[in-house]
Amino acid sequence: MRRFGAFHIAVLAAGFAFLYVPILLVVIYSFNASRLVTVWAGFSTKWYAALLANTQLLDAARVSLMVAAVSATIATVLGTLVAIVLVRFGRFRGRLVFSSLVYAPLVMPEVITGLSLLLLYVAVAFDRGFWTVTLAHVTFTLSFVAIVVQSRLISFDRSLEEAAQDLGCPPAETFFRITLPIILPALIAGWLLAFTLSLDDLVIASFTSGPGATTLPIQIYSAVRLGVSPEINAASTILIGLVTLAVIAFSLSTKRSEVERQRAERGAAT
């Protein structure tokens, strides 16, 4: 009833300034010529050049991208299975335990998840490296995928599946030809979420990675502990840029497919 007025606009402006100014400062000062990060001394891209020469950081970035891609893919498959079980299977014995295990990593403090997985690896004498981090990331990201896919499955029109089955389509084929294409946007969103969560994780990776599998956050963290530096600003800016592009591209593509779908539906109706 109360209209959207100056007060609301001021609140939103202040809120978004709070959210974005710190990030903008990091980006702006990555182009600073001075090594003193808080004193502006002219425009320069030399810290980006320095990054290209930093092989440790580049190696860590490569490891992180690999871990994120592999773990997000496995997590998407498992998370989708979890979502199907939770939405479609109704009540079954052990459902409460099952759903508790799904939600546990969502709310468990990262230090506990990391510690417990490390102790598992030590107990079975699994040498820490690429795979230990990847498996750990699958475990903590699959819950997020499950939630994203679950919400899509809940709003799903089941009569489409029933129609296919009435026409004699076997369940597996129904899944791949009807269900999967419809929930695909949720799977992509879940994959992207799992990918960025994995790329971002410091705590669980610190516990579960070993020599030769230093991820980007671990590398950045060890540099950050020594204080603010323009090279880290430059690395951060590249990461922020990549993520922003990915999110914008994804939201534009889903918007376009949504528009196309609506147009197709309207076309079919007339």
């Binding site: 990030i23 400062l25 939600y103 971002d200």
Partner: protein, 304 residues
């Protein structure tokens, strides 16, 4: 008949694969944490004495049960470091949650009242920082709060302070970091519950002569309560166990349990004590986690 058996087998496989994964990577590891928290520390690799040696058979297992070592938990109560870490974690997380609620409510409210067409954009603007690296967002505040940082420069430039403020490496800096990092977790559930609200309720209140401010307290706030509870839990639970923020923004005297666990593990190499800290932390969080899971389940039922 055959197809029926097939679907039942398929069903079992669909449940079985994720259930096996979750058992192996969530349930078993936690059981190991509990087990190691009950064992002796030794200087070796791994640095603990196994409690249960399964190769020795069941008799040895039963005997081992009798001499479980609760020393680590007794130790946690004797050294004030641990109790103080717990209390200070809860204090810092609780205060931060209250501040986030105070900051986040007006933002969510304004979002929910914005023109319908711009709302998806506003939601995306709140979510976008969540997609950028957590570490970078905390790092950004190191540059702002430092003695020669942007905040002191700005305040000094405006003539508001004559001496630079020492904010970095204090509990205040930790709280600023938590408020900044977790704000989206509060705004989104609040927005979701405010956006669903039926505005004609406010019109009815106004028609009956209720002043807007009172209508806000008596109608809007109670209706947004589920969002308030969800947002507070989503912020409080991870904030209690936070490690990165107190480590980068806090000082050496900032005590938080996540940081204590980390240093027990990585610096002191005392795995049994680290495990005991983890067990107690989880027990302390069991109540809020339980409430949250209960709400999630109810929400899911309501959506169906």
């Amino acid at each position: 008949m055959a197809t029926q058996r097939n679907t039942r087998l398929g069903r079992l496989a669909l449940i079985g694969v994720p259930a096996l994964w979750l058992t192996l990577f969530v349930a078993v590891p936690f059981a190991i944490v509990v087990r190691i928290s009950l064992s002796e520390s030794v200087i070796a690799m791994p640095p603990y004495e196994p409690v249960f040696d399964l190769s020795a058979g069941f008799a040895a297992f039963a005997e081992a049960l009798g001499r479980l070592d609760f020393d680590k938990f007794v130790f946690l109560t004797t050294d004030p470091l641990y109790l103080e870490s717990y209390l200070s974690s809860i204090r810092i997380a609780g205060l931060s949650t209250a501040i986030i609620l105070a900051v986040g409510y007006p933002i969510a409210y304004a979002m929910a009242r914005a023109p319908k067409g711009t709302q998806p954009l506003l939601v995306m603007l709140v979510v976008l920082p969540f997609w950028t690296s957590f570490l970078i967002r905390v790092y950004a505040w190191m540059g702002i709060l430092a003695r020669d940082g942007f905040l002191n420069q700005a305040l000094g430039g405006l003539g508001l302070i004559s001496e630079p403020l020492d904010i970095l490496s204090t509990d205040t800096a930790v709280m600023i970091g938590i408020v900044y990092s977790y704000l989206p977790f509060m705004v989104l559930p609040l927005y979701a519950s405010l956006e669903k609200m039926d505005l004609s309720l406010l019109e009815a209140a106004a028609d009956l002569g209720c002043p807007p401010w009172q209508a806000f307290w008596r109608i809007t706030v109670p209706l947004s309560l589920p969002g308030v509870v969800a947002g507070c839990l989503l912020v409080f639970i991870p904030a209690v166990g936070e490690f990165v923020i107190p480590d980068l923004l806090g000082g050496s005297d900032t005590l938080m349990i996540g940081k204590t666990l980390w240093s027990e593990f990585f610096s002191n190499r005392d795995w049994p004590v680290a495990s005991a800290v983890a067990v107690v932390l989880l027990v302390a969080l069991l109540v809020p986690i339980g409430i949250y899971q209960h709400m999630q389940a109810r929400q899911l039922e309501a959506d169906r």
